[in-house]
């Protein structure tokens, strides 16, 4: 059934968008990530302009991360103090990101920036996850016990001043790296239209050494806050959030996520990481190919102002 999107100014097949929302929701529920890195490219692929796609997807991620955050909250798997400190950086990062987004859009370099960011980020993160996943899998095949992280190994991160106690995570840590990570995620998320959970979770585990029990819940809380803000800012500055598109995506997303979460529980952690790595890497490669090969159409048109 065709439905007209009032902001994107084009009709789309409602069931196609709903199916895309569900598919991405499934993946996001399975891996515990928002799925923005899949949703935004898919929307661009069906003909929605990158600006509308990025802006509308942020509201879709806000919806699915609230569902996630609520269930982690009930299991007391969220560290409120840590989430709050991350958020203080995230707020600034998101504001900077939306500002850059607006600037790039007027310069005509938004699409390129989004594409390059996707290539750089997704290939790196995907590659690393794949590498690590393979390592862990081989390790297990040889019948060795899973590697344990050495406790008490404190890097330079843990020598920084302004330390603070995070009770729920049982950590005593400087707020500086936490704020910086929050800022980075907020910034990247606003520019690329992704929640950034697939970046945030590894950073929290490997850099901040947050226990796994509180990592995903806290990450989802931060995603919820930054994406809520990003939605609001995109709506106010760029007027590019499409309410109809957002609603269809949300409904598909939250439904798909439930089935994804159930499927994810039946797969082992190492395989899950390997699969996610593969997925992230392939999206990155797809963007890379598009940048490097000569496009069929060298010209693009953008409307800069309609006179009433």
């Amino acid at each position: 059934m065709q439905i007209y999107l009032p902001i994107a100014d084009l009709p789309v097949n409602m069931f196609l968008i709903l199916a895309m929302g569900m598919a991405v929701g499934f993946v996001s529920g399975m891996f515990g990530v928002g799925g923005g890195f899949l949703m935004t490219p898919l929307l661009i692929f069906v003909g929605i302009s990158p600006a509308v796609a990025v802006a509308s997807v942020s509201s879709h991620i806000a919806a699915s991360s609230l569902t996630g955050a609520l269930s982690y909250w009930r299991r007391r798997a969220i560290d409120p103090a840590l989430a709050l400190v991350l958020l203080s950086g995230g707020v600034v990062g998101t504001a900077l990101g939306v500002t850059l987004f607006t600037l790039l859009r007027s310069l005509g370099q938004l699409d390129l920036t989004i594409a390059i960011s996707y290539v750089a980020l997704l290939s790196t993160v995907g590659g690393l996850m794949l590498w690590e996943g393979f390592g862990a899998l081989l390790h297990m095949r040889r019948g060795l016990p899973p590697k344990l992280r050495r406790s008490g190994s404190h890097g330079w991160i843990h020598g920084l001043p302004l330390k603070m106690r995070f009770k729920r995570s049982k950590m005593y840590l400087s707020v500086i790296p936490v704020i910086v990570i929050g800022l980075l995620i907020g910034f990247v998320g606003a520019v690329m239209g992704i929640g950034g959970a697939f970046l945030l979770i590894p950073m929290m585990i490997y850099i901040l050494r947050v226990p796994t029990s509180t990592t995903i819940g806290t990450a989802q809380t931060l995603t919820l806050a930054t994406m809520t803000m990003a939605t609001l800012m995109h709506a106010v500055t760029n007027h590019q959030v499409d309410a109809v598109l957002a609603l269809i995506l949300m409904i598909g997303g939250v439904t798909g996520a439930q089935f994804g979460a159930r499927a994810g529980q039946r797969i082992r952690g190492e395989q899950l990481r390997l699969l996610l790595g593969l997925l992230i890497l392939s999206v990155g490669i797809r963007f890379a190919v598009e940048l490097v090969i000569q496009p069929q159409e060298l010209f693009t048109i953008r409307e800069t102002g309609l006179m009433p």
């Binding site: 065709q2 919806a63 569902t67 609520l70 299991r75 005509g108 940048l291 048109i301």
Partner: protein, 240 residues
């Protein structure tokens, strides 16, 4: 020989095209008739050129070039106040209707329509073979927003004609001008014009204007919608 006096009478099938949730393009029909004062005289062979132009808008056309192995937007041109929709129809090829010179003067066809560009500090149209101009027309044509068809005007009788104006799904909203030129044996005889408007109504209009004029409220509504959806899902699917 008596002075020729011909008048054109035209009308479109719908003066107000509304965009509703299930809008997926529409077609308008233009009807017209040539009224002659001297009815007794045998009618001369008539030619008709219909130009439909949508609300003017500014556009930027960008060209990708390879830089450091990556295809990136490099050169760009601004098109100022050009029609966002343009359809040019005739009953036979322009070259058969009139001379090159006359085509240019009467702005018949996509090659002769004025598309103002900003060239440095100057405002001018460029030659029809300009790559940016051609790319602009080609891309608009691919979206069904620019079109030219020299067989789309049907003469039902020597003085009665009809043309179908297709409006694509991505049609811009606003006021449209329909300009009809009557020619005979290569010479301009008369012209007439009519208008129609394309408007978003009801929900579509409400959403589009709210997003622009009440941006904060609109944003807050979207956020509330997202949070409600997320919360509802956690209630509906709750398993613990």
């Amino acid at each position: 020989m008596p002075a020729r006096a011909e008048r054109l009478i035209v009308s479109v099938s719908n003066h107000r095209v509304t965009i509703t949730p299930n809008y997926a393009g529409e077609e308008l029909v233009l009807f017209g008739s040539v009224e002659r004062d001297d009815v007794a005289a045998p009618p001369s062979p008539y030619d008709l050129v219909v130009t439909v132009s949508g609300p003017p808008a500014d556009f930027v056309t960008r060209r990708k070039e390879r830089e450091f192995g990556i295809w990136a937007n490099a050169d760009s041109r601004q098109f100022l106040q050009v029609p966002s929709y343009l359809a040019i129809f005739a009953n036979r090829p322009f070259d058969a209707i009139t001379s090159d010179d006359q085509q240019r003067r009467l702005k018949l066809g996509l090659d002769h329509i004025v598309l103002t560009q900003r060239v440095g500090t100057d405002y001018a149209d460029v030659v029809a073979t300009d790559p940016f101009r051609r790319a602009f027309i080609r891309l608009r044509t691919e979206h069904g927003l620019y079109r030219q068809n020299t067989a789309a005007v049907t003469l039902l009788t020597p003085t009665l004609f009809r043309a179908t104006i297709p409006l694509p799904a991505e049609v811009p909203t606003g006021d449209y001008d329909v300009d009809i030129k009557l020619l005979s044996r290569g010479a301009f005889v008369a012209s007439a014009s009519t208008t129609f408007e394309v408007v978003k109504v009801g929900f579509e209009q409400f959403v589009a204007t709210s997003a622009r004029q009440r941006a904060l409220l609109y944003g807050l509504t979207i956020v509330a919608m997202a949070l409600t959806t997320g919360w509802l899902a956690s209630v509906v699917f709750r398993r613990d």
